[in-house]
Amino acid sequence: MQRAIYMDWNATAPVRPEAARAVLSALEACGNPSSVHGFGRNARKLMEEARIKLANRVGAKVENVIFTSGGTEANVLALANRGERRLIVSAIEHDSVLKPALAAGAAVIKVDRNGVVDLDHLRILLQQDARPALVALMLANNETGVLQPVAAAAEIAHEHGALLHCDAAQALGRINVDLGVLGADSLTVSGHKFGAPQGVGALVTNGTPVSALLLGGGQERSRRAGTENVPAIAGFGIAVATIDLAASANVTHLRDALEHRLVDWDPAVTVFGRDVARLPNTLCFTAGVKSAETLVMALDLAGIAVSAGSACSSGKVRPSHVVTAMGFDAARAGTALRVSLGETNTESDIDAFMVAWKRIQAPTATQIQPAA
């Protein structure tokens, strides 16, 4: 059976061949990086090389890179370190930020119709309450790809004595990510979104102290206990070192081509965040009428893998909280599709998408009303 065309890179990306080779080679070696003997030292070397590569890529100090089991853990670790600070988070954060934040009574920053966070609202929220705050603002939204004004938000946060955490899980590998440029106090990165394996991520700080969530051995300078996932970390290092932002230009070209063809064919298509800066690979849109779930399944039958919003929502397709936060009604939010491309997609994939799309959208196809 022929493999479906994969257009869901924001859910997860295939491991790059170079990174896979590094993982395999580390799997075939053996050693606990905490062990003093040669096997242990070799494992530690692999891990520290990856740490240096990541630090260099994001402009951080090597000692401020804390490897975790992934983006979710990094976000949870960052938020758990707020101490006495109150939380202010944007309405479009990933669930790993939004859920614990809302449970802790966080204030929520509005976004505009394009999905860009409202900095005036951030300022108001900071001024409303004299207690120091921790602000969480993602660099690129996972559903719309819309880039957020993190540097400006960090400046405002710092003016008010607040710290800023930035979830850059979707950004690393696709656009430039630099801790200094962003002005963030901490940064989440995830491996499996850009060609490193699943099961590894990192929290990178500007030196802001971090106390551990996972307690135990003194790994990661006592900021994250547990035997380090050396093979995945080694793969992460290679994936970071082989990031090719120039290749994103081709992805942008494909994304834009698809976008134009969709809108040309059906002017009723709404592209979310079309007027603002987005990730090169992400296209989130609605054609109205058919539910996202119906569309995703029809596309899958046609051999094309896309998604309706994020993949984390326990499999249940629900109206996207991101699109809802942008001021669209439930009908729009429940019909939003996310196409996210990657370095192995081609022009013919775009052609195939359009063929399938036109067939699914043709008036002869069974009309299924969106769920209420």
Binding site: E28, E48, L214, G216, N229, P231
Partner: protein, 417 residues
Amino acid sequence: MNSMNNSSPTLENRPKLPVYLDYQATTPCDPRVVQAMLPYFTEKFGNPHSRNHSYGWESEEAVEKARKQVADLIGADEKEIIFTSGATESNNLALKGVAHFYKDRKDHIITVATEHKCVLDSCRHLELEGFKVTYLPVQQNGLVDLEQLKAAITDKTSIVSIMSVNNEIGVIQPIAEIGAICRERGVFFHTDAAQAAGKIPLDVNAMKIDLMSISGHKIYGPKGIGALFVRRKPRVRMEAMIHGGGQERGFRSGTLPTPLIVGLGEACAIAQKEMGAEAERLKGLRDRLFNGLKAKLPDIYLNGDLDRRIPGNLNVSFAYVEGEGLMMGVKDLAVSSGSACTSASLEPSYVLRALGVEEELAHTSLRLGLGRFSTEQDVDYAVEHIVEAVTRLRAMSPLWEMAQEGIDIKSIEWADH
């Protein structure tokens, strides 16, 4: 930290030296496990939570197959298995999760002085939050006294956490008896089985275990993956530690790392199939190693019970040598003096101290871990190498000389300086 080194010892291309005898620190990933994992990196790479396309489905199917393999190893139902990033996370989640959930009614936790550091650190953290923790002592053989356990349980006790197998001395705690006591008293029983799963038969129902931590890289699976068994009947409830997308029934959010999970599942399946024969083989090697050392070296002491012990572990103290010298002297063996987590420090093992091992002997212990790829040649080399090193070090030791002359070292009054 540790100095970097350009040598790359791997088990494959340097089968002889250094000999890997540190199977309690980590185990090599079994080649069969690696083979099972490979397709899930680059080919079947979907996110198992992507429920609307075939890439997601095939990953989800692989994850659920692995969940069953893990469950089968310990006699659990697959719905009772939660994947985590490793045993450290499983232990943190079990202790903090249960303690926090039941904190309104119960504020007492019981554990043992020789537990892994991540259990002890979680307990210390809970003490700072206001929980009361009883750290049970162990007997000289490393095992808990069941009468002391019974006496420690109160109506405020929410959870008892006692490891199945100790990571330094390999002793097997009386898990079934502990489970029976806890069930009778209505207290949850958690066991850290990182060193036990796949090495000794475990059955969560027969042993009345309510929560069990499992590690991938201790059973020839990959690092970065572990599991926590959480009983459904009677139901154990927990507060999550890592929130987010709501994966793993809300107990543990985050994208499940499919290749690692496939590896853990395969490692469990292999262990289940081969456990019996492998235990026999390892016991033979272990006896060969211990008998070899005893035959040529007087004044050596086994730490922990010999019979109630996993077959792949020895922990031996060598009198009249100096600890650091001993480690340096056996540099062709990859061994450790205690647990890997604390191996960079020169402090004596808290596990050995809890057994009542004297400071001098606690400083000169070696943990000799055998496993799936250990051979008779490895063992014979280790015997020869250790005997040679200890003999040489003792020849330079005035204490050894005095002991040979019949002077009781303990009777000497050393001058302060």
